[in-house]
């Protein structure tokens, strides 16, 4: 069975290589080689190195394991890795692992439970790492470095002996506890901070875990209530600096049962705002809630504008996104070209048709450029062509190169006689982006300005309208006999980007890239027709 995604296999291989390359054996052997030991002596020395993890039981004969050689941080790190393993396996991000886990009844539930066990163990190892640090930072123990190395090392009884970490290890400062008990801890203020983003975070699409370009948006809410506490009865204290800040995450407007954030300003002088920050990333009800994940002495200014603290307080919780991918049924269909046309047009169910874009036309209705769209021709040597559409490209204000709101483009059918075959038709854009220059078959020429509103050149109503709304670009059209734009389709966002550009066209994308046999211009010519064969 190929059990894992390639990416995971690579990770596994790297892990092995890292172990092989960075294990202590080669490092030790290098040192022993440098000391001139023979191969056998090196092997003996390597095994003797393992006495580092042994200690005498007292009688000089029996050796026992010196667990304290490892630090709680070593244990925590191992459990970090294990927790990550379970996350990778259970998170539905790896299709093959998901299949494996779900192929055996009960395996997912059992592994989810085991993950909780791992998280409980991790919480204890982390606590063993953080609690001495907290005591030292708050001055509750005289100094970290006077403790013996052994005492700071891993002790299974200390790390895993507690039945309830929350009662056995209190992250409190005696002065504050005392003030709370004797009623001299007064609430000096409180504030609530709320942010809400509907499109807060982009996440990989759980229904398409193998597609790196598939995503979903996750709504983000950050609601935090802060309380500021001050020790003392004094109604007029010398300053308004708090001795303690407590922060509670709000869930549906309700505070979690325990503070997620505590900042102790013990021994803080007036010129030093370093506080001891105790922060719990876990949410109420999750494993590890009520136990800190972070303890540090740091400068604290405005909590809600401290991006580091806020990011930790509202870190994503894995369970929320552990959603099994939707299994969609397989749709089988044979669609033969020619039997039906799939052109993307969607007919509106509304009598008024699809809504038109708004606000792109100025009061005088003069903010547009004219461009031409020709009828397609099969003859590459044809000497004449017919205008299919006159295109009004709406602009922003007086500019001819800045697009209007929504980059609106309207397509009008030419009125007779301008819908007849012509020897040439161009926009005299250097003179005016509204000036049309035509050459008839008989050689006569005419220069015309396509005026706003009703005129003799184009129809009164556009046949097509292109516009952009949000991330998408649309095209509207009226089917025969319809007074409203009753059909709409999504078109490429690349279209309509070259406002006022008469040297190239982005509509080639839609026209299949064909060029006009009448193309006479180029970047250096004064006149340029718009070389389009426009298929709808």
């Amino acid at each position: 069975m190929k059990t894992q995604q390639r990416s995971r296999r690579i990770v596994v291989c790297l892990f092995v290589l890292i172990l092989a390359g960075c294990g202590w054996r080669p490092k030790l052997m290098d040192r022993f080689t440098a000391r001139g030991y023979t191969e056998k002596q090196k092997l003996i020395a390597f095994y003797e190195a393992h006495t580092l993890f042994l200690e005498d039981e007292g009688d000089g004969k029996v050796q026992r394991v010196a667990y304290w050689r490892l630090k709680p941080g070593d244990i925590r790190k191992e459990f970090d890795e294990m927790a990550q393993d379970y996350e990778n396996i259970l998170s539905y991000t790896n299709k093959e692992l998901t299949h494996y886990v779900d192929s055996v009844p009960g395996m997912r539930d059992a592994m989810t439970h085991k993950e909780n066990v791992i998280l409980a163990m991790r919480a204890r190892a982390l606590n063993a790492e953080l609690y001495p640090k907290f005591l030292q930072l708050t001055g509750s123990t005289p100094s970290y470095d006077v403790l013996a190395e052994k005492q700071l090392g891993y002790d299974p009884a200390k790390v895993f002996g507690s039945k309830d970490l929350r009662t056995d290890f209190r992250y409190e400062v005696p002065a504050l506890t005392e003030a709370r008990e004797n009623g001299t801890l007064q609430l000096a203020g409180e504030t609530t901070h709320s942010t809400h983003q509907k499109f807060g975070k982009k996440k990989p699409d759980p229904d398409n875990p193998d597609d790196s370009n598939a995503y979903i948006w996750i709504e983000v809410r950050q609601d935090l209530k802060l309380r500021f506490w001050k020790i003392g009865h004094d109604a007029q204290p010398e300053d308004n600096k708090p001795d303690l800040i407590e922060g509670f995450r709000l869930v549906d407007g309700n505070e979690e049962s325990l503070p997620a954030l505590k900042i102790f300003f013990v021994n803080a002088s007036s010129y030093n705002q370093d506080g001891v920050v105790v922060l719990d990333k876990d949410r109420d009800g999750d494993p590890g809630f009520g136990l800190p994940d972070f303890v540090e002495k740091m400068f604290v200014g405005d909590v809600v504008h401290d991006s580091r603290l806020m990011a930790m307080l509202f870190e994503d919780k894995r369970d929320k996104f552990r959603v099994p991918p939707k299994r969609q049924g397989m749709m089988i269909e044979i669609a033969k070209v020619g039997e039906k046309v799939f052109d993307g047009w969607i007919t509106s169910q509304d009598h008024d048709g699809w809504p038109m874009p708004k606000g792109y036309v100025n009061e005088q209705k003069t903010n547009y450029n004219i461009k031409l769209v020709f009828e397609p021709t099969k003859d590459p040597n044809a000497k004449s062509r017919r205008i299919k559409y006159v295109r009004k490209e709406w602009t922003a204000g007086k500019s001819t190169t800045q697009p209007s709101v929504g980059r609106v483009v309207e397509y009008f059918e030419p009125k007779p006689p301008y819908n007849e075959l012509l020897a040439d038709a161009r926009i005299d854009f250097r003179e005016s982006t509204k000036r049309l220059m035509i050459t008839r078959i008989d050689g006569s020429e005419e220069r015309l300005i396509v005026m706003p509103g009703v005129n003799n050149i184009i129809g009164d109503k556009p046949m097509l309208v292109d516009y952009t709304a949000g991330p998408k670009r649309y095209r509207l059209r009226r089917t025969e006999g319809s007074e409203v734009f009753n059909q709409r389709k999504v078109i490429s966002n690349m279209l309509g980007r070259k406002t006022g550009d008469y040297f190239s066209t982005d509509d080639e994308l839609d026209s299949g890239g064909s060029t006009s046999p009448h193309h006479q211009g180029g970047p250096d010519s004064d006149y340029l027709d718009i070389p389009l064969n426009f298929h709808l």
Binding site: M1, K2, T3, Q4, R8, V12, F15, A20, C22, G23, W24, R31, R35, Q41, L43, I44, A45, Y47, E48, A49, H50, T51, L52, R64, V65, Y67, R69, G73, K77, E78, F79, M82, Y100, V104, P105, G106, M107, A110, M111, H113, K114, N116, V117, A120, M121, A123, E129, Q136, Y144, D145, V146, E149, A157, G161, K163, D164, R166, T167, D274, E296
Partner: protein, 510 residues
Amino acid sequence: MNTRNPSFATLWLVLLSAAMADAFGVVSDDVKVDVKVEVNNGGDPNLPHYFPPGIVQTQDPLQQFQEIGRCFTATDKRFQPWSGRFMIAGDDSYRFKTGIVSTCTLDRNPFDCEIVLDHYVQQGNRIRVTDGLGQYFITEAQLQIVKDDMVATLNVALDSLFADYQDLVAKVEVACAKALHMPVDELRARLEEKLMDHKDVTFRELLMLPLPIERSDLVPHTLHLGCNPRMRVLGVTWLNAGVVYYNPQARIMDYVMDSPGVLKHELAHNVSKLQEWPLTGAFDAELLASVNEMLLPKDKVSLFYHSYAEDLRELMLVFFGYDVQQAYDEIVISNQGGALIVNSDKYREHFGKLEELKVELRKHINENVLPEFYGNLPYWLSLNHRVGDDSTVFRVIARAHYYPTLLGGAEATMVWVNEHKPEIMADTRAVFDEMGRDSGQPVWIRVSSGRYQPPPALKRLYEVLFSAEERERIAAYVAQHHEVVDEIINKNDEELMQWLRALLMKGEVR
């Protein structure tokens, strides 16, 4: 194999045959043979039809090796087709319930163990068998022999492994209680209590102690007799799932030894109470599964040749003085294009010496190593991680119980060790500390903005190596050159001491 991959973690690679080919040249896979398969062609009709005719059971080490080599040569194409082809195992293959209860899966739900004979397909009153050499029919009677043999072999393997494991958890609890400085009865009384802050987690789970092992925990949910055409393996177990594949070649090998070692090895992987994926990635699961297979008296092959036994061979070398390479060199007289001429007497002599060591080593591991390992799993997994070695428990506990003997006996070796111990331990501490820097342990503690305290061990070292006057000069220098703080806290201990000494020598510190 150190990996958290459920497939890679469990492969019992068929390196044995490769090792044999390499060592004795008895296997040639490239010869084109037009084989007409005859069922039990002259063999014992009471043995499974796929056994090579005339197969011999033997406890003579040389004969056992020779017989297994011959059987593998004869059956490689048949049972290790290595075609790269996918085949559907078990879909319409003959399967039957054994009546043996399995509770091996993580949910512990009891299940009647099922055996699947891969690509044995019933057609009327005949059974068509497909293997690497062709398709042929066997009779109902021959089928019954295969079924009986599988059930009997499974029961022998289960009994043997259960005998190894049934008292293990009691020993594990003793080891754990010792580490917790707690009477074992007190520990046992607490084990099933739930934690207050994680109400679905018991104290036993928190300590990673296995539940007592029942025979049913060893029984696979589904046991396949068949090959895995995209793997050259004798057996493979899908962790947490209770699915075991047992290649007919492995059954043949186990028959020759008169001990189902390969199946026992896979069943050891199958015990999720001891080998739960993905935790298996943090220790050498193969070595653990090999102990009660390769150190069995009837297995005269694996300890000497198999790659999974590498650490066992090293322990025998360091602590018992048994040098496999030396033995091999004395056994092999001549290598004639892969066909080896061996000294039979030397072969038997060297393998004979192994037997006593196997007994000692197996007892040591079952009595000392496994209880300590499973009794303090968080510690050993973390130590493995810290030093990048997935077998630390084997080395540490061996040194706790034995003196090394490699340098001409225990006395001579310990004379050398005692002479060099200070430098060995100085190197060891330096490397251990260096590797700890990546583990996130708090080396320097930031006490406030720009102020750090060194770890206690480093502070003591500093005080030993530098006089009070030198320390004052260094402190004054650092106070004036705050930019060096980052440099200081990121050096390992040895580098830092050298750097500070150089600073004093250069006279920059006055």
